[in-house]
Symmetry: C2
Subunit: 82 residues, 2 copies
Amino acid sequence: MTYRAKIYVTLKPSILDPQGRTVERALSHLEHQNVEGVRIGKYVEMTLSGERGDVEAQVQQIAETVLSNPVMENVRWELTEA
Amino acid sequence: MTYRAKIYVTLKPSILDPQGRTVERALSHLEHQNVEGVRIGKYVEMTLSGERGDVEAQVQQIAETVLSNPVMENVRWELTEA
């Protein structure tokens, strides 16, 4: 089987997000004063072939060790049949 | 009301993604040869206050004009009560 993985990497809530703060300030200057808590993360999609159980373990490992830094970032993912 | 918007920005399928290609090659060297079609996008979260209809229009505008480049990128978003 072939699966499409969608992986979301976000900064942990306790970590400052200067890029998000900059977007927030820019939005505020563009008449969007009701926006706050802007956080910028990464979104990764990939296609994997194999048995579902193996692919799940593989995505978990890739998400934790390659795509994110566990000290600063949280990662979650979902799998759909491609 | 207060809403949390989750916004996903992805490169259009016809646009080359060198960053994704690099990740794909790195994964291939890490024994993940069954991975292909890696695409890297952005994931943005923000909190907005206001009426749902107004907030939806506002998120649509922010997503299209501030967070993405409509020539090269697709954008989609969802809204949940915060």
